[in-house]
Amino acid sequence: MRSTPRVRSTGLRSAALALSILVPTATLPTTASAAPVFGFAKSKKKKKSKPKAAPEPENRLTAQEAADARAPIQSRAQGMLDSDPGSAASLLAEEARKLGDPILFTDAAEAYKAQGAKAREVEPVESGMEEARIALDILYFLQDPRADAKWEIIPEGEIPSQIDRARNVLSEGEALIAEIEKEKAPPPPPEGSKRERTPAPKDGRGLIAGGSLLTVVGAGGLGMIGAGIAMGVDAQKTVEDPTVTGDAFDEADAKGKRANIITYAGIGVAAVGLAGGIALLVLGVKKRKAYRADHADTALHLTPTLGPGLAGVSLSGRF
C-alpha cells in the first residue's frame, strides 16, 4: 500500500520538474532569448569571443580635419610673419611637407617672397617659387583620377582658386626677382667716360712736329757754333796782341778754349738736330701728302681763279 503513494509522489515530482523548466522559458521576454541560458547560446558566445582580425583603419582625411590641422600652423606663422618672415616661411614649408597641404605650401611661398622683398635678396624669392610649384603639383594631382578620394586635403571647390593663388605667387616672384636684379646691377658708366679719344689721323703730323723740334735744336747748335767762333776770334785777337801779358793773357787763353768747346758742342748739336730734324720733316711731309691723297678723294676744293678778264671761284672735287 505504501508503494502506491510513492508512485504518485514520483509522478508529481516529475510534473513539477517539467513545469519548473517550462515556466521560465515561456515567461522570458523574447529579447532575452539570446541570453546564455541554453547550450546553443553559449556556443554563439564562444564564436564571438574568437579573435577576429581588426578591420583596417579607413585612413580617411576630411577637408575639415585638414583645415583643423592647418589652422594652428597658420596662426603661429602669422605671428612671425612681420618680424621674421624667413622663420615663418621655414615653419610653413616644413609643416606643408608633413601634411602634403597645398595651402600651406602656398603660404610658405608667400612668406618666402615677403622675406625676399624685405631683404632685397633673390634666393628667398626663388625658394618661395619652388614652394608654389609644389603646391601646383598637388593641386593638379587632386584633379587627377589617381588621387585618393579619401584624401580631401582641401575642399574640391577650392582647387581652382588655390591654383590661381599659387600661379600669382610665381608671376609676382618673377617680377620681384627682375626688380631686385635691376637694383643690384652695377650703375652704367657716366656718358662722358664712354667717349673714347679718337686716334689722331696718321698723316705724318708727329714726324713733322718731331722734325721741327729737332731742326730748332739744330738751329740752336748753329747759334752755338757762331757764338763759339765769335768768342774764339775775340780771344785769338787778345792773345796775339803783344801788349797783353800775364793774367790778361791767361784769361784770354781760357776764353779761347771755352769758345772752342762751345763751337765743337754747337757743331754736334747742329749736326744731330739739323740732320735728324730735316730727315723727320721730309718723312712727315711725304706721309702727309700720301694721307691727303688717300683721304681727299671725295673732298671738295674751293679755289679762287683769276685771269685776264676773269675773276671768280672754282669748285672742284671727286665723287
Binding site: 611637407r97 602634403g100 619652388e130 610649384r133 609644389i134 601646383l136 603639383d137 598637388i138 593638379y140 594631382f141 587627377d144 589617381r146 588621387a147 585618393d148 578620394a149 584624401w151 586635403i153
Partner: protein, 130 residues
Amino acid sequence: MKLRALLPALALAAGLAAPMIADAACSDPTGLCVNSGSVKWKSDANLSPAQKKKEKKLRAGSSVLLDVTLDGGRATVFLDGRFAGVAPLSSFSIEPGSHEIQVRDGNRILAEGVVTFNNPGESVKLEIHH
C-alpha cells in the same frame, strides 16, 4: 677542373644578364627606371582594391625603403593617391606589395604606373628621367 670550366660561363652569364636588366628598366617609355631586380614596374597601370587584398600577407612584412631620384629638373611624388614628397626622396618607408605611383611637374606627368615591391625590407631606387 669543373670549377675552372664553370667560371668563364658564370662570368659571361653575369655580364650578359646585368646590362639586360638595366636596359629593360631604363627603356620605359614613361621615363621611370627601376634600379633593383626584385621590383616590378608596370607603367600606366592601376591597382584595384581586390589586388591590394590579395597582397595582405606581403604587406605585413617589414617596410621597403624607397629612394626616388631625378636626372634633372624638379618633380613631386605621389604614392597611392596621396602626396609622398618632393623628389629626390630618400629612404621613404612604404609597405611591401603593389603601389600606385605618379611623378609630376605641374601639369606634366613624368611617370605613372604600379610598382610592386616583392621583398620586404629591401631598399629600392627609382630614377625618373625628364
